[in-house]
Amino acid sequence: MHQNRTIPKKISRRWYNIFFTRLLPAVFLIVITGMAISCQKSQDTTFLKIGLPEEPRSLNIWLGTDINSRNILSQIYQPLFLRHPKTLEIIPWLAKEEPVFDEAALTYTIHLRKAKWSDGSDFTSEDVLFTKQLFFDFKIPRYYSKWKIIEKLEAPDAHTVVFHLKEPSAIFMSRVMTAPMVSKKEWGPVAKNALTKEKPLRILQDFQVEKPLGTGPFILHEYEKGAYIHMTKNPYFFGEGKNIAGFDLGPYVDNLLFNIYGTTDVAILALKKGDIDYYWWDIQPGYIQDLEENADIDLHFNKKSALYYLGFNLRRPPFDDKILRQAVATVVDKQFILNRILQDYGTPMDSIIPSGNHFWHNPDVRKYGAGMDEKQRITAARDMLKSAGYSWKVPPVKDDGTLTTPSDILLPSGEKMEKFVILTPPADYDPKRAFAGTMIQEWLRKLGLPAFARPMSFNSLLETVKGNHDFDAFVLGYGKLNLDPDYLGAFFSSDNDRPNGWNMSGYTNEAFDTLAAEQRLVVDVEKRRQMIYKMQEMLLEDVPYYPLYNPHIIEATVNKRFEGWVEKVNGIGNIWSLCVVKPIK
């Protein structure tokens, strides 16, 4: 009935007119202008363009503790000492030279460089004193707990500071001296005001920093929230023109422009298009083949100071039994995880300290299932359990040595082992850990253990494992461990076995506790290394955590405009790179 009706010509003509005379030319103008802008921007070599995966949390150094804020702020606020990118030794940075340690008086005397803040004012010992006072007055998280070993701090002159310690400290150089220094001029009034308030730390952290005052190679020029961060070269940078740690420092680029990309897919397209020169984030192995085919892109593979592991709850059965944990460690096929889950971009971990941290890493810890195939691993684990009193209705290995489907494993007490759960983060949070958990479940079932891998939202997982301790086993990781091995004490000392403490497994070993406490007081590095080695041996014998893998950090840069990236543990995104990267002429 309605088929004969047509659209009135007047209406359609009006819409056509609007479309062709207004809308289409407007869209055309926008596209052409935009394209012209795009062509113009890619020629500019005074800007080093860096992609970030997320916006920095804050440019207030006391709140901006996330990785993106750190990436920006580490170009501004500088510590007295820094790690050498290759040797990983602690070297003077804002300090002029190595500290003078008086063992009898327990003092470190440090001479400061004649450096300036980015507003041209002098960096002096007053600023060091102020920074220390700030840590103490506000009990600033992450810093106060390390700095409280300082009994007194003196400033004999404008460029000398003397640290008086309460006791000898192994972590003084690595954890105290690497804290960022802030300017009294910038933070003094803020701190004074905050201290008069009920919640001083919140006031300090919520202070909006417009132009952070630093001593680093770059200063913040402009921050357009939700869009970009523009940093320019600091004209007062103390390192410019100097050779430090074998590097002739610049910076050689006038501007850093940070752009945010919501997904890695889009960031990769931006790299390929030349919109950015470097994407400051770990790229997943799935992108490698595509990037390797692009001649304009260089890939950088570096070791990570990371630990991904299987953790056990030692507070309750079944994993309160060391032999069971060792048997589980024996059946886990780390090579499979490396090949299939990490696609060979990583290393299997033997010790709790990653191998990239070569000074502290002990390569001679006990290794489980090394060089064995599946049958050998299951047989070895079966033997371990059998000798500890475990039994099966149907054992995993037949008398003729062939594998079979086991059933009903019985504990040494004769009771049937209850099913247990391996908690993992969900696959959308970290597919590697989720998949590793599933694989471990399968290997354990081949041994007859009633294992069930269960992905759980990250918040709930942490609350269950760290807060409530209501779990059997879990797969978790630390993506960026400090290079000082002091964290061994935090992870495994029995005094950290408490709700929200880092000893999530509930590991208790008196000998370990003694070593962990003693090593903190040992200033002799070689002697401390032997103690740390011993601690690693203990951990791999008792297996509260079983280290699984350490993925490589994979990063990509465009090679047409800039060169000279500094490769180090944790990647090329570091202050050294930004101080030495040069435009290609």
Binding site: N259, Y261, N459
Partner: protein, 324 residues
């Protein structure tokens, strides 16, 4: 009931529902797993540090005390500071809201206009090839998976053809220079086009189908036959008699869509790196940033409630059969 009494009753209803939402939101966030600190997997952070941070956030106080402070703060217009950004929640929301409105509200309005117009034509020419093409295309648009479609458009139009930028709201290297205001506006529009196109295509389908189906049912009504018998022109029958009546369910849908458009869309924002409120909302919830998450949800609740009220009133105005 008088019009003014009806509005008053409705306003009281809205206020009550809003207060319930205010309360439910508070307890929902506090009872969800974790707290703003627990997600920080940083061995440098000692349990003492964590306790200190919790105390500074006021989360160590009893729940009822926190609730009273929360309600008091709300009624004094103080939404507090975001735990995550350390910035005033109102500033963060206003900052993001402008971009959300620019993209999501614009795309909803555009899609609604075009969808209603095309839906009217499709219904009027029911069974024709034009109707078939429009209906099938609308169904395809309606069922498109946003991330896939957005990435596809980005890859073809942004990367391969280079017609549009690969996300963001502006070209940083242009803005750090001395570009004129006109160029800057063009730049923002250039960045807006691809996400707008994506959302427009996705939203268009639903409005077109809704209008088509509503119009088809109206065209079967007796008063359309009466109008035709009266000798009214086809244009008058279609636009005045059919389309106006058919628009009623569409108005409800558009009204609510407009309200929900301030919610943004996390996936679209993520892919196009659009600094809208949707991504922020998801982030605030997953990171237990209570002040920010609460304020975002309250804003959405308020806008939806008000939009609902307006649609109710509009309905009564548009349809004489509905009385207060």
């Amino acid at each position: 009931m008088k019009k003014s009494s009806y509005i008053l009753v409705k306003l009281v209803e809205v206020a009550f529902i809003f207060f319930v939402i205010l309360t439910v939101l508070f307890f929902l966030f506090r009872l969800s797993p974790g707290d703003p600190i627990s997600k920080m997997v940083d061995p440098m952070l000692t349990p003492e540090d964590m306790a200190h941070l919790i105390e500074q956030m006021g989360l160590d106080r009893p729940l009822w005390e926190q609730y009273i402070i929360y309600v008091k703060n709300f009624f004094t217009g103080n939404f507090g500071f975001s735990f995550h950004y350390g910035e005033q929640v109102s500033t963060i929301i206003l900052d993001k809201l402008k971009w959300t409105i620019l993209l999501f509200t614009t795309s909803t309005v555009l899609a609604a206009f075009v969808g209603v117009f095309l839906g009217k034509i499709a219904a009027w020419r029911k069974g024709s090839s034009l109707d078939n093409v429009m209906s099938i295309s609308a169904l395809v648009c309606y069922t498109l998976f946003i991330p896939w479609f957005a990435l596809l458009l980005l890859w073809i139009l942004g990367f391969k053809l280079g017609l549009f930028p690969l996300g963001g709201v502006l070209t940083p290297s242009l803005w750090v220079g001395n570009a004129s205001l006109f160029i800057r506006i063009l730049d923002v529009l250039h960045h807006l086009m691809l996400p707008l196109l994506t959302l427009f295509i996705i939203n268009l389908g639903s409005y077109l189908l809704l209008m088509r189906s509503s119009m088809l049912s109206v065209l079967r009504e007796d008063y359309i036959i009466t109008a035709r018998a009266k000798g009214l022109s086809e244009k008058v029958i279609r636009n005045k008699h059919a389309a106006q009546n058919a628009a009623l369910p569409v108005i409800t849908s558009v009204g609510l869509s407009l309200a929900f458009s301030i919610n943004g869309g996390a996936l679209t924002e993520q892919i196009f790196t659009w600094p809208g409120i949707g991504k922020e909302l998801i982030f605030a919830v997953s990171n237990n940033d209570y002040p920010l998450a609460q304020a975002c949800f309250l804003l959405i609740a308020l806008v939806v409630l008000v939009a609902n009220l307006i649609v109710d009133l509009l309905y009564a105005w548009l349809d004489p059969r509905i009385t207060y």
